[in-house]
Symmetry: C2
Amino acid sequence: MPKPAPARRVTAADIAQAVGVSRATVGFVLNNTPGQTISEGTRTRVREAAARLGYRPNKAATALAGGRSRIVLLMLPDWPADFSMRTYLEEASRALDEAGYSLVTQTHSAARMARPLWEALNPDVVVGWARFEDQDVASMRAAGITRIVPGPDAQVPLDEAPGVGDGARLQVDHLYDLGHRRLAFAAAADPRIADLVGARASAAQDRAVIRGAELRDVRAVGDAACSAAEAVRAWHEAGVTGIVAYNDEVAAALVGAAVRAGLRVPQDLAVIGHDDSPLAALFVPSLSSVRMDAVRAGRFLAEVALREAEGRPLSPLRYEPDTRLVVRESTAAGAAAGIDEAGADDA
Amino acid sequence: MPKPAPARRVTAADIAQAVGVSRATVGFVLNNTPGQTISEGTRTRVREAAARLGYRPNKAATALAGGRSRIVLLMLPDWPADFSMRTYLEEASRALDEAGYSLVTQTHSAARMARPLWEALNPDVVVGWARFEDQDVASMRAAGITRIVPGPDAQVPLDEAPGVGDGARLQVDHLYDLGHRRLAFAAAADPRIADLVGARASAAQDRAVIRGAELRDVRAVGDAACSAAEAVRAWHEAGVTGIVAYNDEVAAALVGAAVRAGLRVPQDLAVIGHDDSPLAALFVPSLSSVRMDAVRAGRFLAEVALREAEGRPLSPLRYEPDTRLVVRESTAAGAAAGIDEAGADDA
DNA sequence: CTGCGGAACTAGCACGCGCAAGCAGCTCAG
DNA sequence: CTGAGCTGCTTGCGCGTGCTAGTTCCGCAG
């Protein structure tokens, strides 16, 4: 053997030399550049040589020359990437990959980096779940990023954004239909997700008003066991019989606290969670919850990112979430005793 | 106003023009290029102009010219990014940012992408938790990536890698010290994490042999409630009194099944989880678990990636994990009744 | 024989930056 | 007075690709 390989990457010039054409031709063939007439024979020979040599275009050069990196950066809030989130991301990633884009996600940590990821990656689009802070927007602008979703002047508040409040409305409806009229909302104490928690809480409150139930008390339940116990005690004393929890973890904490306090779930206190995490089914008693169609949400994200990347309008696009109730023991029907007298005043 | 801004990104040439020096000088100043003598006055003026104009170097151009992207790609297995993982990633990200690198993570999905992320990002280093498949290594090679950790011919098996088996050993020791002699390992059914599950299982088995306990039955517990019930029944019939669970979720499923089957936890069956997820403290009974120091692990990852990126040797680096037992109700001391006769034959 | 138009390419610039090489001006030993 | 050595810069190439503006060849009508 004279030398196994030059350990140098294969470039378009190598293909050009191997085939005996110019580098431009190679580019035209491999990119299917419209407006160029290249004979079928040449096309074939170029493609074969590319495959044979294992050509991978240098993305840094592509990005520099073309001005597009074909990267979509998704900034996620700092909450757990549970299993439905993973499905969501996987689907979005798959859909974008099909369109020739790569999805990169980062969970936005509180500590501000010296070099934010959008600066390092040069993404074509930055997508977030909530509006970005002005500081971040300015940083993106300086990094040459013009396509930001949601735009810096998005007008829709988070709790009215499609999909965000649907789960909360289902939760309220479910408890109402079981006869509960005094409800409370159990928020998560984690400040990092305050936006989403607040959005779900206000969606729940609005729904309660519409249905004619009472949902005033919004209380944060932290990781500390005592806070859950305290909340359960206060709610029970106030005559609350149904609790809308921000997510399954909060619901679990409350159910645990209720059981420890000697309350029966769901007879004395019904609790419904959100997200249908695996934990919900395992808990004793098992937790009712709300599940969202992560695949559909992922596809929606991909579509939004693609349209933005290619400068197509987002407007005709509408997200139709598929949110479903998952009823389990923690809100079992027929078990809500002693609350009939409270809810007899309306149809 | 004649026109607010050309909407064009600020380049080094703009700074050069503003200051009245050549573009090279700008580069030398901003990169602190060694071996160049630039007067302090010029340095200051360049830096001021850069700040004033909001200069952000184009990373695509930097990567192309310098051959380094200063990106570290971490490929994670497809398991949940729970809260300790997030701490881990955050710390690693912070440490790398300090050194001028960006950390990008991707959870390796089963579906193979048309364009893997390492191709799109051109990272200097790709780091994984387990050895990469040959196919992936080949793909990285073709994309011009030479620095891969662990190397394609890493010799240390996963269960002997520092940190991987420590938790399992602690779990076994804990149950042993409580008097349990017949143990079982509860694996997770998810095939995506089979490697890690297997590594923990074999570490647990080895430890049990060393201590003189019996741990033979390794059984997968899936999401379906029936599989947990079935496993609990089989183990209880076989006289197993202590269960080492792969993680807290599996532990929760087992404890739930045991309670439903009328067994007392921990009196009839002690269960210890792994990872100390928030769920562990909330469950009723609360779950004993094992917690690892995610901050330390994150720093270790960053250090490994940095050394590899800069071509420094990894060898003198040693990971000293800080793995600790968290004892809760599911293995409460003194509650293990009726097993004393089984464990009287050794010191 | 000339002109023309289309097919099938090629030459070469631009992208923004890192960095090697070079060059003017000055100082100072010999 | 020369030239070696230093400071403080500038010129310019190269990275690999996209893409515009050609150029060559060739068939065919006039």
